[in-house]
């Protein structure tokens, strides 16, 4: 199995949220992102810091939502990946 790079993991997380209409439960995201719970939290922390993801509380459930920067990242993903791979960044 090929190890995913950081950019791909970020894409997978954001794509999973987008596929659920821009809002996803943590347990669902854990399943979709194929990461350990701790690793997922670390990535989400980072993505929230970058403004790509934010959380909302609805009733008793917490949801992760995709932000504007997250949508921008998804739109640019292929280019970013190609650029990153070409220059070995």
């Amino acid at each position: 199995m090929i190890k995913r790079d950081k950019i791909s993991i970020i894409y997978d997380i954001l794509h999973a949220i987008q596929a659920k209409g821009g809002k996803i439960k943590p347990t669902h995201l854990l399943y979709k992102s194929n990461l350990s719970y701790q690793t997922m939290l670390r990535y989400l922390d980072e993505l929230m810091g970058k403004g790509m993801v934010y959380t909302v509380q609805e009733k008793k459930s917490k949801f992760y939502c995709i932000g504007d920067k997250g949508y921008q990242f998804l739109a640019e993903y292929k280019r970013i990946k190609e650029f990153t791979e070409s220059f070995g960044l």
Binding site: G49, K50, E82, F83, E85, S86, G88
Partner: protein
């Protein structure tokens, strides 16, 4: 100037134009890296932006210095011109250019070799700067040090290309190979000024290839 006075007279206007093109090309690569950094906040992209921005500034320095010195030299006779060539090798324009290019190449090496130890980075920087500024001939030292630094970058991109076999990886490898070769051609300028033209065109081809790759990436 420093570089133009090694060039044949007929090539000077072309060189000036090409250096402007090189400035814009490297600035374009820097800009895209900056855009990705703004989006991802990943330090690698910021470093890559800094590297290409410094290369762009070095080309701008070349353009400006060349213009200033070319104007001055119009009124000089050949003997004075030769004296100016020698003294300009130690000139401020050359010094700035060296600092910008070496800093840029060092950032690329730090990224390629994934050097994180600040002591190693500072040692590398000090050695490069010392070798450049203490050397007797700044022109020769600049190009030899550039070749050494670029060879590490070329080796890295060759390794990546053989491991992944991607088209864009091949383009980047060939680009840096051409840029390295251009530095070697610049060193042969003492044999014939024609080598300056060959070096300049090879350098231009190297950076244009990088730019073409960027355009291909943007069109995906």
């Amino acid at each position: 100037m420093i570089t133009f006075l090694h060039a044949p007279d007929w090539y000077v206007p072309f060189a000036a134009f090409f250096e402007l093109v090189l400035f814009l090309v490297t600035l374009g690569i820097a800009y895209y890296s900056y855009r990705i950094w703004k989006l991802t906040s990943e330090a690698n992209y910021l470093s890559f932006f800094a590297s290409f921005f410094l290369i762009a500034v070095s080309f701008l320095t070349r353009v400006v210095t060349n213009i200033i010195l070319s104007k001055d030299l119009v009124t000089f006779n050949q003997t004075v011109r030769e004296v100016v060539v020698a003294s300009s090798n130690l000139g401020i324009g050359y010094m700035f250019r060296s600092v910008f290019v070496f800093a840029a190449l060092m950032i690329l090496i730090i990224l390629a070799l994934k050097i994180t130890d600040r002591r190693v980075i500072s040692l590398l920087g000090i050695m490069v700067l010392l070798a450049s500024f203490i050397s007797f001939n700044a022109y020769v030292a600049f190009h030899i040090i550039s070749i050494v630094l670029l060879m590490y970058i070329v080796a890295y991109f060759y390794g990546r290309h053989t491991a992944r076999r991607s088209k864009s990886g091949l383009v980047v490898f060939v680009s840096f190979l051409l840029i390295t070769l251009s530095q070697a051609f610049y060193l042969l300028v003492f044999l014939s000024k024609a080598f300056f033209v060959v070096g300049h065109l090879t350098e231009l081809a190297g950076y244009l290839l990088l730019f073409v790759m960027l355009i291909l990436v943007l069109n995906r």
